[in-house]
């Protein structure tokens, strides 16, 4: 009897839990197609206008248009976000993977300390890291912009890649490398033909994580982006400050679709390899 009740309560809790996460997201998707320009809680018909507006296909003459940034600004922000995400992903993947392999191959006395040093940027509050980086960049007289965003993000994204690749290395059979050497392979051949293919899922996972985190990082990037450079999250944040406009919903849905596409592409590539 009580057990039965418990099961029901648990089910209700589970449903509520997921509803809490997914209902707001579903609402954004629905609102993005709602033609009512003022009150999005009131459904007044299906429209693709907000998407058209974002993509510059339609210049609305509605009163809302007064507040909307231009399409060029949006596209510039998207472009910046991609430049930053691809650069930081490439840099942090190479740095994080190298650090993980180095530590696996050549354990040394201070390796625990080294590991902690690599963990800390992940645990650091974003706002602290943002301020610290800002002060540092300004202090050395750097010009705030794409360069500082890429450098700043790479510092903590490297930690993520390092951790994911290290986990993969920890589960690897060390005798694989021995077997390769035993069969006549040089260290370079072993690295290329055995170690890297074995680590690939970890490297891909780390890179994907870095890419997604970079794409939507707001706090740290906000501090170190300067006044002339906007990434997509900063652009959206700017839009929101002038009130929630329907275009924001459309933009959010497009980002959502993009993130899913990236994640699925990653999963697909991984499964195809196996």
């Amino acid at each position: 009897m009580f057990r039965h009740l418990g099961t029901k309560a648990l089910l209700a809790f589970t449903v509520l839990f997921f509803a809490f996460i997914y209902v707001p997201i579903a609402l954004i998707v629905i609102y993005s197609f709602n033609s009512d320009p003022v009150n999005m809680m009131r459904w007044s018909g299906f429209t693709l206008d907000w998407y058209r507006q974002i993509l510059g296909l339609r210049n609305a003459a509605s009163e809302a248009a007064l507040y909307i940034e231009t399409t060029e600004q949006l596209l510039a922000a998207v472009k910046n976000s991609f430049i930053v995400a691809f650069s930081t992903t490439a840099l942090s993947t190479v740095l994080g993977t190298s650090a993980a392999i180095a530590l696996y191959r050549h354990p040394f006395a201070a390796q625990r300390f080294y590991r902690v040093l690599l963990f800390v940027p992940m645990l650091m509050p974003d706002i602290v890291l943002g301020i610290a980086l800002l002060i540092f960049f300004v202090g050395i007289g750097g010009q705030l912009g794409l360069g500082t965003i890429i450098t700043g993000q790479t510092t903590f994204l490297t930690s993520y890649v390092f951790i994911v690749v290290s986990a993969r290395l920890a589960g690897m059979d060390r005798s694989l490398e021995q077997a390769s050497a035993d069969l006549g392979a040089s260290e370079w051949t072993t690295f290329r033909r055995i170690l890297i293919p074995q680590l690939m899922p970890g490297i891909m996972g780390g890179a994907l994580l870095a890419f997604i985190i970079s794409m939507d990082d707001l706090v740290i990037t906000y501090f170190i982006s300067g006044t002339n450079t906007q990434t997509l999250p900063i652009y959206i944040f700017g839009m929101l400050r002038r009130g929630i406009k329907p275009e924001v919903n459309a933009l959010a849905v497009m980002m959502l679709v993009f993130s899913f596409a990236i994640a699925f592409a990653g999963l697909y590539l991984r499964n195809r390899k196996r």
Partner: protein, 369 residues
């Protein structure tokens, strides 16, 4: 000039333990493996057998001593430049490569032309009974099949010497016994030396031409399986290989007759000359005992015991007993003597006899030495 497949001269190796002390893995090993010999390194874990194997393959660099393979000095050669191949305990098959690419790995690295490479891969797989499985992935195979792939991969490059690091330990008993015979056959076909590492004495006795029994980084005895079993060099070998009843005491006697008297007053009669002055140990294997009628008076080669337990093992009964002074004795008796065993069990007493010629003597050395 050097007629050995592999030769070690004074091989020494120590490791730093996590506590910071030095642990001796190899305490100056001299060993020579003959061409086309099946040599087993046998010992408990930590005895140095795996270190010795890794010293030959090159994964462990010696602190002192030299290694020659086929007469050539290999002491400072890296593993990838040594003409030996290894079958690893975990098989170490490359999970992302097909069976064919695993087996062909060494040939690809040696840049063997494709047609020859494929032919040799096929032949190696054929040899281990896995012909035609080139396209499979390792994880699609059973443990026994993976084991064979590892074997094929290690022989495809025609090494001068094959090293096997406890390759059968992950297989179930039946498969293990079948593989023991197959390995032996394979070794005859290839005509190269096999150095086989195991902690399983039964495996060692079954397969080897010679066994090197290791303990504490030293070779305790290097001899044929029969020799090691019947005439162990010391107490360690005697108790590590097979079950044994050991009686240590002072020896006395003349010529080929010796009487060993233990401190508790027990006597054992051996038809063997005293091996040394000082304390001596007599070994009687459990199967060398027979059941004697209890006449009340006991001859020289008789051992009265009280029975603790009788265990039926199929072909034999195992009798666990103890002598009057409390020393434990194990005897295995053929199942055909069931009725006499049952009678003895009823009385809780038995008299065990043995042939003095089957008793082996070796110098007693305290465990610490």
């Amino acid at each position: 000039m050097d007629h050995s497949s592999v030769r070690l001269d004074g091989a020494r190796k120590s490791f730093a333990s996590p506590e910071g002390t030095l642990v001796t893995a190899l305490a100056g090993i001299d060993l020579s493996v003959k061409p086309s010999e099946f040599l087993t390194l046998l010992g408990p874990s930590g005895c140095g057998k795996t270190t010795l194997l890794h010293a030959i393959s090159g994964f462990v660099e010696l602190d002192a001593g030299r290694i020659f393979i086929d007469g050539e000095d290999m002491t400072h050669r890296p593993p990838n430049k040594r003409p030996v191949n290894t079958v690893f305990q975990s098989y170490a098959l490359f999970p992302h490569m097909s069976v064919g690419d695993n087996v062909g790995y060494a040939l690809d690295i040696a840049r063997v032309a494709r047609p020859e490479r494929n032919a040799r891969v096929g032949a190696a797989l054929e040899m281990v009974g896995l012909g035609g499985l080139e396209k499979r992935l390792p994880r699609q195979l059973s443990g026994g099949q993976q084991q064979r792939v590892a074997l094929a991969r290690a022989i495809v490059a025609r090494p001068k010497l094959l090293l096997l690091d406890e390759p059968l330990s992950a297989l179930d008993r039946k498969l293990r016994q079948a593989m023991q015979i197959e390995l032996k056959t394979l070794q005859h076909e290839l005509g190269i030396a096999f150095v086989f590492v195991t902690h399983d004495q039964e495996e060692a006795l079954t397969m080897s031409d010679r066994i090197a029994v290791l303990n504490g980084g030293e070779i305790q005895q290097l001899a044929s399986p029969g020799e090691v079993y019947n005439r162990p060099a010391n107490g360690f070998v005697a108790s590590f290989i097979g079950a044994s009843n050991l009686f240590t005491g002072s020896g006395s006697g003349s010529g080929a007759e010796t009487i060993v008297r233990t401190s508790a007053g027990l006597t054992v009669h051996a038809r063997m000359a005293l091996p040394s002055s000082g304390p001596v140990t007599a070994l009687i294997r459990p199967e060398q005992f027979a059941l004697a009628p209890d006449t009340g008076t006991h001859g020289l080669s008789e051992l009265p015991v009280s029975i603790d337990q009788v265990v039926f093992m199929g072909m034999v009964f195992e009798i666990h007993g103890r002598t009057d002074d409390g020393q434990k004795v194990v005897a295995t008796l053929p199942a055909s003597q069931q009725s006499r065993i049952a009678e003895a069990e009823g009385r809780r007493r038995a008299v065990l006899t043995y042939d003095p010629a089957s008793v082996h003597l070796f110098p007693a050395v305290s465990e610490a030495a």
